[in-house]
Amino acid sequence: MLVPLSWLKEYVEIDITPQELEKKLFNCGFEVEELSEVGKEISNVVVGLVEECEPIPETHLHVCRVNAGVHGTFQVCCGADNVRTGGKFPLALAGATVFMTAKDHKTVEGVMTIKKGKLRGYESEGMLCSGVELGVTENMFPGAGYNGLLELPQDAEAGTDVKPLLGLDDWIFDISITPNRSDCQSIVGIAREVAAALDKEFKMPSLEYTETDVKKEGFQVRVEASELCPRYIAHYVYDVKIGESPLWMKRRLALVGMDSISNIVDITNYVMKEMGQPMHAFDCDYLEGNAICVRRAAEGEKIVTLDAQEYTLNPDNLVICDGAKPVALAGVMGGLNSEIRETTTEVMFESAKFARDNIRKTSRALGKHSDASARYEKGVDEYSVYHAMKRALHLIEELGCGKVSSTHEDANTGNSLEPREMKVSIAKVNRVLGIDVPTDEILRIMRNLQFAPSAAGDELTLQVPAYREDMEDYPDVAEEVIRMYGYEHVIPAFMPAAHVTMGGLSRRQNKEMRLKRALCSTGAYECVHYSFFSPSDLELLRLAEDAPERNAIRLLNPINEELSLMRTTLAASMLNAIARNQKRGNLEGRLFELGRIFIPKQLPLTDYPEERQKLCVGVFGTDESFFTLKGIAEKVAENLFASFSYRETKKSFLHPYQAAAVICEGEEVGYLGKVAYEVAEWLDLRVDAYIMELDMEILARWYDRDPSFTPLARFPGESRDLALVMGKGVTCGQVEDVIRESCSYIRDIRLFDVYEGEQIPEDKKSMAFTVDFTPRDEAFGADTVDGFVKKILKNLKKQLDIELRS
């Protein structure tokens, strides 16, 4: 929110610098996002009196003698048409900074420094300035809009700085207001806080006015939807003379970024900024039926707003109607049919509280935002509703632009505007803070904050102003006290009264971290991907119509379609990450992600879905193969003290002959394989990629397993190399299984060669294994192992028709 220092000063005395004030505000909970000096670009510009002014022949220029008081008298050349002897104008002295304008003299193109120079052979020791060159608009100073010199008042003293005169010595605070303090969304609200922080008195703007006897007979306000409008105040103003607002009002509106429109409209905007209460003014000539009715819109009802846009409404939208038709979209924008015109002579002022949530919904649903709706969305209070109307009526009188009638309608639900009494225990307040704030300090702070406090023993009694809807209990009081008393008074302690607790990671968390580190040791980098994915990812994975991965939870309000589903597999994100890397020239790498997939029990969700932990590993590069990825799978198994086996499988996004199901001790836990060429093509992959996904919910059962120690063998082991010839369809796993089942003394079986070709029948292949045998209770005899081998060969022959290679 923008707060000009000059405006703030009207309600509270400020005797510190803007920078000190920024700090004070910061300390009591109001962060100043930006503190800017209004005329910071302008320096060394003083009031200059033109004492002589002679035209330079054959040019539009004049050469002038300009009296700049204490600075001396200077010769200045000037091209403006309104330069004249006796006129007072801003004079930029040598070394001054002012805005540089384009050829049109209107567009600002930067800041320039004035130097002494020569024009057409005439010495020029400075520059006389226009409004634009000083950054002053017509709304800030009359005449500033003229495309020529800015004429200063005759009583301005030559040589004095022009900045105070033009309002350029001001500062703007852009303050961020937390949502609990909607009462501070106004100049007055901030002024109250500043007064409390500086120990100064807060001066409420004048609310005085005199009602005439004139009445708008029979006028009625009816609120049909009081749940959306707890208070609606209307006041009739007549003898209205539409015209321009006074300079001070225009200037203030300009400082907070609002255009001046006409006195009546300006009053509503001014009050909104000053008091934090949006207001509206209807032209009574266009109100039918001598009534205002606040109700929900009928289905399909239409309104054309001030900006000539038509909207079709429904009962979720609140409208302000006259006796016949909607005349405003409540809290958002007035209707075109009742807007203030130059011919307006009678006005109905509105000040109302509308439910913030309803205004927000309407504003969002219609895509219609205004200063008023933005203000209403933050929440207004009825105290301000009431006082803002008074302030507006005071301004009508002060500006002399109308007469205040005695027709004042206040439709409300009986909420009090008086302070409510609140009693809290001082001990409890201090118990929250952990320090003992002296009671006198508490009283001072609460008094400064307008709570009219009194203390009796431990009991603190407060009169909570109606605008402080956030004050509910002693913790709120504690917060008010400490933010004004100062957080530097909080003494660090380390839970002296607390119990000792056991901290650290659970077994599962430790095991997960251990697994991640093991994956890193294989050269894989951990990734984190969004928990959402795209419907197109389901197509990327070429999933069947009835694939369980298609049963994904949809976001009701996704940012875009790409991020509209909750993940049911980590594969798509991994594939996209691989593709992204390849596009950026990373042509080899290993990635892994431990993340969740989301499985709904039913759609739409009425219960928590299952959040299932998965591990996805992706590898790519010319050195990678099915078996390098399988090596990572084995690393996972090793880490869990589990053993994996593998079985050929089919997966829509994997190579049909390079894909395996991963089985952990009898239970299928995932898959691994080469990415199918169709998928690789879709992703424009430049090198082959391999992907694995494991279900960590199942594998978590192995987290309980610990490493165990097998005593070292007391007797030496023996090894045998077996070169075997078999049908081409026999797999390594089958052979290993038969070997293992044939003898209980086997410690390890390792494939060391695969051969097809000469010396082997054409329909056969050879696989050679090293088999390690370890004795248990006694040493192997001379031919014990030969006996084992014989049995192995017999079983291989019987079960898989495998022969020893001759």
Partner: protein, 361 residues
């Protein structure tokens, strides 16, 4: 005749003996000549063999001739041969040692490398920067007795908002743009829901951390629709703002160094009262003011406060007896400040060029 004959024979023999000593001298000379020609230990070995081999070597041959020598000359002859053998062995050993030393030197020289050529390494991956940061944070708090809770990513309205004193129509709901999945279920906008779950299910006292993924409908240069927070909660008897300050002081010293200090300033969260923003003295410039802290000397790192008594009561905890403190840290923010990463999106793009750099496991 006999005498003549004997003399004849004697002469012959004597000539032979003379001839023998000539041969010894000849061999000696042959060795001396040959040695000077040798240039490798292999050649030394081969040359040596010509003389020293017990069967075929020239000195070996001499030994064999011993039996043909007259007994009275034999001792003399044997002595000469042995002397020659000893002498030759010494020469060959000396030469062999010299050759070997020279050859070793040559081998070393031939294996000279350019030590500035690139190293050969086995690539080790890294944990994600978020995980690294999360681990560092957990380490600090685990030592203070905090256990780690894992928040859900999908929450219901009650836990994410209502129980946290943010009923429908509460202004604070505007602070966060929520992704909804159904009227009641949504993507967690904050890890704070874990506070409620912990208070509902855990025995008091509670000290817990809840690092997790959170989601807000924001997607621009500085916002990501998904990011990570870490919630902290303590519920016990007599927990005050002083404890919050003391605990956070300890945290920042462990995390950013002993000289780091904290500053509390008022803020607002619906589930804490009072609420504070916590700034740390800039760890880049030590508080003097620099680009990192935008000249203020302070860096905002987390939001915190005393648990709102309504929140305790929503969880069935007696707010007269117990009180609590809570804090929430943006993990990306901590990581970005720590590693100088300027774009939050980089965390989720899995670009290996980025992941390889952050090696603070």
């Amino acid at each position: 005749m006999c005498t003549e004959a004997y003399e004849q024979i004697f002469k012959l023999q004597k000539g032979m003996v003379n001839k023998m000593s000539d041969r010894l001298a000849g061999i000696r000379q042959e060795i001396l000549d040959g040695i000077s020609q040798l240039s490798s230990s292999r050649a030394v070995y081969e040359f040596k063999k010509q003389f020293m081999d017990s069967k075929t070597g020239k000195i070996g041959q001499l030994m064999k001739e011993m039996k043909t020598i007259a007994p009275e000359e034999r001792a003399n002859f044997g002595k000469g041969v042995n002397e020659l053998k000893e002498w030759a062995k010494q020469r060959f050993d000396e030469l062999d040692e010299k050759m070997k030393a020279r050859e070793l030197q040559r081998r070393y020289e031939s294996e000279k490398i350019d030590v500035t050529m690139p190293a050969k390494t086995v690539e080790t991956g890294n944990l994600h920067p978020i995980t690294q940061t999360r681990n560092q944070l957990i380490d600090v708090f685990a030592g203070m007795g905090f256990e780690v809770f894992e928040p859900r990513e999908i929450e219901n309205d009650y836990y994410n908002f209502t129980a946290l004193n943010t009923p429908k129509d509460h202004p604070a709901r505007d602070m966060q743009d929520t992704f909804y999945l159904s009227p009641d279920f949504l993507l967690a906008t904050q890890t704070s829901a874990a506070q409620i779950h912990a208070m509902e299910t855990r025995e008091l006292p509670i000290k817990m951390l809840a690092p997790g993924k959170v989601f807000r409908s924001d997607d621009d240069a500085t916002h990501s629709p998904m990011f990570h927070q870490m919630e902290g909660l303590v519920v016990d008897k007599k927990i005050t703002l002083c404890d919050l300050k003391g605990m956070l002081d300890m945290f920042v010293k462990k995390m950013y160094g002993e000289e780091t200090t904290t500053r509390l300033r008022p803020s607002y969260f619906p589930f804490t009262e009072p609420s504070v923003e916590v700034d740390v003295s800039c760890f880049e410039c030590g508080g003097k003011g620099c680009r990192l802290c935008k000249g203020t000397g302070w860096i905002e790192i987390l939001g915190a406060g005393i648990v709102n008594k309504k929140v305790l009561e929503n969880c069935g905890i007696d707010s007269e007896e117990y009180s609590g403190l809570a804090f929430g840290i943006g993990i990306e923010r901590v990581a970005m400040l720590k590693y100088g990463i300027d774009n939050i999106k980089m965390f989720f793009e899995s670009d290996l060029r980025v992941l390889r750099q952050i090696d603070d496991n």
